[in-house]
Amino acid sequence: MDLCELTALIEGKIITRDCDTSRPIKGCCGADLMSDVLASIQPDALLLTGLCNPQIVRTAQMADVTAIVIVRGKNPPKETIDLANEEGIPLISSPFGMFELCGRLYKAGLPSLENQVSPENCDCG
């Protein structure tokens, strides 16, 4: 799936400029905890998140994320958009919520690119 097909599917709006729309999206990861993203995401994934701060762009850059979708039609602050433009990471805003978006993308054949967590890392007590 490429960026154009994606935006059509999620009725999304690309907020950043001059982005490379040909880079393929191999799968998806949805999370609001950036450490969870860094712990589990595989390269070339799409990141779905409810957060809007610049850290989503930094996280995407470190984890080789293809594009970021911001859920619930939120508008990220200027510093987030500036950073995304600078680093060449497309930001897309979609009116749908996280669950709806995950459902739509999964149904369209996009696999999960979240690594399963090993049992010794599951203990949150």
Partner: protein, 333 residues
């Protein structure tokens, strides 16, 4: 029987060889729909040849697909018009002169497929179709040349040049033990710029020729360490990266407050972060766990009231080493 002509051989320089390979590579990488012309001028079977001549002259083209009821039925080219002119027959319909033997190429095919078809069939242009066989564009040798040139130009952008220069650093400088040290000052609670040091470090590693996997592992580890300094350290801290041909060593140090129980801090899910930090998507107690997962060696020393020192190492395999392999082996022994 046709005789196969003997292959011409000639000596080419390394530079020339490199360029040829890149163009050849690009012909396989680039897809037809990237280089083709869209919105091609179309003709219909009932159109008069004279009209086609006018279209060709105005649009400065030498061929067009012939479409009937949304279906591709033929190709009309300047050669057909010349034949028609000889007969003084410009009032005839396109259907009388068009060629109906069609060679098409799919939009998802690599450019090299289009090139092969153009060479084998000796036609000047190929209609490009989608999976359902519907016409989406036209491709000529000119389109392919333009596409390849554009891609080549893109290849040689500044980043590439920088990468080329930096990747030779370890080869060009001879010493008993060469290392490159990067230092960054991290300000406390600076969430807006948080991660910029990690970003510089990841870019530096890629420019030095690190594999994407190594750069990613380092990037994630150092980013978590940077965020820890921003979140927890009283006065922020320092990140120091030492890059050697065979390993990358990263140290994150601060002067307080220190960690009460290092073993507990290493437990997944354990966190002392505030609500404000959690709202930023951090402080889930996975930072140190993430770092440990990305690196080969990790050492965390902390004294309450004094400060914390995190030292991590990533080892590079021989094929991933910076600079020449010989330099790598020297460092190892």
């Amino acid at each position: 029987m046709d005789e196969v002509p003997p292959r011409k051989t000639k000596t080419i320089t390394d530079q020339a060889a490199e360029n040829i390979t890149r163009v050849e590579e690009l012909a396989y990488e680039l897809k037809v729909d990237v280089v083709m012309s869209r919105d091609a001028k179309e003709a219909s079977p009932n159109m008069k040849m004279g009209e086609v001549l006018d279209i060709f002259r105005q649009a400065r083209i030498s061929g067009a697909p012939v479409i009937s009821q949304d279906e591709l039925v033929g190709i009309i080219s300047i050669e057909d018009i010349i034949r028609c002119l000889r007969q003084n027959d410009l009032d005839s319909p396109v259907s009388a002169y068009m060629s109906t033997k069609l060679f098409t190429v799919r939009q998802t095919d690599p450019v090299v497929e289009a090139l092969k078809t153009l060479v084998h069939t000796k036609v000047g242009r190929l209609p490009v179709v989608d999976d359902t066989g519907k016409l989406v564009g036209i491709i000529t040798k000119g389109d392919i040349n333009r596409g390849l040139l554009k891609a080549l130009q893109h290849d040689y952008q500044e980043e590439e040049i920088r990468r080329y220069r930096a990747s030779h650093l370890f080869e060009d400088i001879v010493s008993g033990r060469t290392s490159l040290i990067l230092r960054y000052v991290i300000k406390p609670r600076d969430f807006t710029h948080g991660g910029s040091a990690s970003s510089y470090i990841k870019r530096a590693l890629l420019r030095l020729g690190a594999s994407p996997q190594i750069a990613r592992r380092c990037g994630i580890a150092v980013y978590e360490a940077e965020m820890n300094l921003i979140i927890h350290a009283d006065h922020g801290g320092i990140i120091r990266v030492e890059i050697e041909p065979h390993q990358i060593t990263i140290e994150a140090t601060d002067d307080g407050p220190g960690i009460q129980d290092v073993e507990l801090a290493m437990k997944p899910g354990f966190s002392t972060a505030t609500e404000e930090v959690r709202e930023q998507g951090f402080g889930a107690g996975m930072g140190l766990v993430n770092i440990a997962r990305c690196v080969n060696e990790m050492k965390l020393d902390s004294t309450l009231g004094k400060g914390t020192r995190l030292k991590i190492k990533i080892f590079l395999e021989a094929q991933e080493a910076f600079g020449e392999v010989s330099a790598f082996q020297k460092e190892r022994t």
